[in-house]
C-alpha cells in the first residue's frame, strides 16, 4: 500500500526467490464455491527460514488486495525495496525467520505468478480475461491448502495477515480447523462494510469506464492503465486516515512557483496519489483488481452460517490474536470487535487489542512497536503451547 521506509540491511532475510506450485491438473480441477471448476492451478509462494524436524514451526502469511508472494527480503541486489511485509518478517523480527518457517502464498485470481484472469485458458489458448471464474476468499484458501499439503505440513503454527490477508486467515481457521494452531488477524473483518464495497465499486467503475478495458479483453492490445491507476488512487485514500494524510502532506505544494497556473499536480497529496497510480499499473492487472475486490466484497462469514457470526466460529480450534487500529476507517475497530465477540461467546481463546495510531488502515504495513511485540509474544507462547 503506501511506500515503506527502506529497512536497515542487517536484519533482512537477504536474497529470496519466488517458487511456483502447479496442481489440479486435468482431470482433477479445483472445485470453486460457485460450482465452477478451475485447473490447472498455479500458486506463487516464497518461504523463509527452516522447517523444524516436527514441522511445528510453519507460519502461513496471507497478503492483502495488491500484495503478492514476495513478503520479505530482496529478489536481487538491485531491488530498491524489499518484500511488502519486510518490516515484520526477518531474523529477529516479529515473524522471526530464525525461529519460524515462514510461507507467503499468493492468491488465485491474482496476477503475480498465480493463476488468474491474465493466465492462459487451456481450452482457448488465450488469456481467460472475464472467462475466468469468480473466486472467493474461501476458494483462495482451498488452493493454499493444496500448497500446504504439498509442503508436507500437517498443522500450521499460525495463519496471519492484514486486511484481505486477515480474511483469508479467518477463513483458514473455519475451513481447516484441524490444520491451524493459531490465527493472527490484523485490521480485518468478517465482512466488508457497505462503505468499503462502495469504494471498491468506484474503483471497478474507473476500470470499466476506461475504453481500453474493452470488456476485459485487452491482453493483446494496450492495457486500461488510466482506469486501474484511478482505482489505485481511490484505494490509497482509504488506506490513510485523515490525520495521517494531513501530517504527511498537509496543504504543501509540490511546486509552489507554478501553483494555480495549469492542471499539473500542485499539491503534494495529488502528486503522491498520481505516483501511486502510475507505479501500480506497472505491476498489477486490471482484471485481477476486479476479481479480487469482488472476492473481498462477497466475503461474509455471517451470511455463510445462517446469518450468525457466532455459528461461523463455533467449531474453530485455533487461538486468536486480533488487532485493530484506532484510525482505520476501512476496516474499523468495530469489525474486529465483532470477530472477538463471536469467539468469546464460543469460549475460544482470543487476544484482542485496539492499537492507538494515526496511520489508518495502512498501520499494519508500517513499523509499530506494539504490533511487533504482540505478534512476537503471541507466536512464542503459541509455539510453546503447541509443543506441550
Amino acid at each position: 500500500m503506501t511506500k515503506k521506509e527502506k529497512e536497515p540491511e542487517h536484519n533482512s532475510i537477504g536474497i529470496v526467490n519466488t517458487e511456483y506450485f502447479t496442481f489440479c491438473e486435468p482431470p482433477h480441477p479445483l472445485k470453486l464455491s460457485n460450482g465452477r471448476k478451475l485447473g490447472p492451478v498455479t500458486l506463487a509462494y516464497e518461504t523463509y527460514g527452516t522447517l523444524n524436524e516436527n514441522k511445528s514451526n510453519a507460519v502461513l502469511i496471507l497478503h492483502a488486495l495488491s500484495g503478492n508472494a514476495h513478503a520479505a527480503g530482496y529478489h536481487s541486489d538491485k531491488d530498491k525495496a524489499p518484500g511488502w511485509w519486510d518490516t515484520y518478517i526477518g531474523p529477529g523480527k516479529a515473524f522471526d525467520t530464525d525461529k519460524y518457517f515462514i510461507i507467503c502464498s499468493n492468491v488465485i485470481g491474482g496476477c503475480s505468478g498465480s493463476t488468474g484472469p491474465a493466465s492462459l485458458n487451456p481450452s482457448s489458448g488465450k488469456p481467460y480475461a472475464l472467462d475466468f471464474p469468480m473466486v472467493t476468499i474461501s476458494d483462495m484458501v482451498n488452493a493454499q491448502k493444496k500448497l500446504i499439503d504439498h509442503l508436507g505440513i500437517k498443522k500450521l503454527l499460525s495463519v496471519a495477515g492484514g486486511s484481505m490477508g486477515g480474511m483469508q486467515a479467518l477463513q483458514w481457521t473455519i475451513s481447516y480447523p484441524d490444520m491451524v494452531e493459531s490465527c493472527i488477524g490484523i485490521a480485518t473483518s468478517a465482512s466488508l462494510s457497505a462503505q468499503g464495497i462502495a469504494l471498491n465499486e468506484v474503483g471497478r467503475q474507473a476500470i470499466f469506464n476506461d475504453p481500453k478495458w474493452n470488456g476485459g479483453n485487452y491482453y493483446d492490445s494496450s492495457f486500461p492503465k488510466a482506469g486501474l491507476s484511478l482505482a489505485r488512487m481511490i484505494g490509497h485514500i482509504t488506506y490513510l486516515s485523515e490525520k495521517h494524510m494531513h501530517e504527511k502532506f498537509g496543504r504543501k505544494f509540490q511546486d509552489s512557483a507554478n501553483a494555480g497556473n495549469d492542471m499539473n499536480p500542485e499539491f503534494m497529496v495529488e502528486s503522491y496519489l498520481r505516483h501511486q497510480g502510475v507505479k501500480f499499473v506497472e505491476r498489477f492487472d486490471a482484471n485481477s483488481y476486479i476479481y479480487i475486490t469482488r472476492a473481498i466484497d462477497h466475503f461474509d462469514l455471517r451470511a455463510d452460517y445462517g446469518d450468525s457470526l457466532t455459528a461461523a466460529f463455533e467449531n474453530v480450534s485455533a487461538n486468536y490474536l486480533i488487532i485493530s487500529f484506532t484510525t482505520d476507517w476501512l476496516y474499523p475497530t468495530g469489525n474486529s470487535k465483532e470477530i472477538v465477540r463471536a469467539l468469546r461467546v464460543n469460549g475460544k481463546n482470543v487476544n484482542y487489542t485496539d492499537i492507538e495510531t494515526d496511520n489508518g488502515h495502512d498501520a499494519f504495513l508500517l513499523p509499530n512497536e506494539l504490533l511487533e511485540k504482540n505478534i512476537k509474544n503471541f507466536l512464542k507462547s503459541e509455539l510453546k503451547k503447541s509443543e506441550i
Partner: protein, 203 residues
C-alpha cells in the same frame, strides 16, 4: 505497570484445579498466569489498556481489550466456573449491572475491593474532612478511578437487594505486598479489603 498483588493468595486458594475463569480488569495478567501455573485453569482476561493486553500476550494469558461495562451480556449463562472482580467493582460505571451479569455468566464470583468502612479511612474523613488518600486509596478525588467506593456492609446489603447468596467472606488486611491476613472480628471496621465469594445459583 507494576501491579499490587492484593488478595491474590486468597483468590488462588479459593479456585479449584482446572476451573474456567474470567478475570475482569485483569491488568497485566499476573493473577491469571499464577492460576494457570498453580491451578491449571483455563483463563480469560478483560483489560481496558492496550499496555495491559500486551503484557498478558507476553505471559501467554488470553485477554481482550474492552471496558468491562460493555460486552458481558454476550456470554452465555454459567459460562465460567469463576468470574473474578478483584479490586475492580469500584471502578465500574454501573456496578449493579456488572454484578448482575457476573452472577449470570459465572457459577461463582469473587468480589474483592478496598473497604471504605475501614477505621482509618473513616477517621481520615472524620478528622481531616477531605476524601481519604492512603495506601489503600492512593488517589485524589479528582483523578481517582474509584467512582463507586463501598464498604463490606454495603456488599452484604446488596446481596439482600439483588437476591444473591454469599458463599464465603474472607475480609483481609495486607501484610507486605502480597500476603493477606484474614480479619474475622468486626471486619467492616478492621479489614482493609472486602472479599466475597458469591453466587446466584440456589443451593
Amino acid at each position: 505497570m507494576e501491579e499490587l498483588k492484593i488478595g491474590y493468595d486468597l483468590v488462588i486458594d479459593e479456585i479449584p484445579e482446572g476451573s474456567r475463569v474470567l478475570d475482569l480488569g485483569c491488568g497485566d495478567g499476573t493473577l491469571l498466569k499464577l492460576l494457570q501455573e498453580q491451578k491449571n485453569i483455563s483463563g480469560f482476561g478483560v483489560e481496558i489498556s492496550e499496555e495491559g493486553v500486551s503484557q498478558c500476550v507476553e505471559k501467554g494469558v488470553y485477554c481482550y481489550q474492552a471496558d468491562i461495562d460493555e460486552g458481558l451480556s454476550d456470554y452465555r449463562d454459567n459460562s465460567f466456573d469463576y468470574v473474578i472482580l478483584n479490586q475492580t467493582i469500584q471502578n465500574t460505571k454501573r456496578p449493579d449491572y456488572v454484578i448482575k451479569e457476573v452472577l449470570r455468566i459465572g457459577k461463582k464470583s469473587i468480589v474483592s475491593f478496598p473497604n471504605f468502612g475501614y477505621y482509618r479511612t473513616r477517621a481520615y474523613l472524620m478528622f481531616k474532612g477531605t476524601m481519604p488518600v492512603s495506601k489503600l486509596l492512593p488517589y485524589q478525588w479528582y483523578d481517582s478511578p474509584n467512582i463507586h467506593l463501598l464498604t463490606i456492609k454495603d456488599m452484604i446489603r446488596m446481596a439482600e437487594d439483588f437476591s444473591f447468596s454469599i458463599i464465603s467472606e474472607k475480609h483481609f488486611s495486607l501484610s507486605g505486598v502480597d500476603r493477606s491476613n484474614v480479619i474475622s472480628i468486626a471486619p467492616n471496621l478492621m479489614a482493609e479489603y472486602g472479599f466475597f465469594v458469591i453466587t446466584s445459583i440456589e443451593s
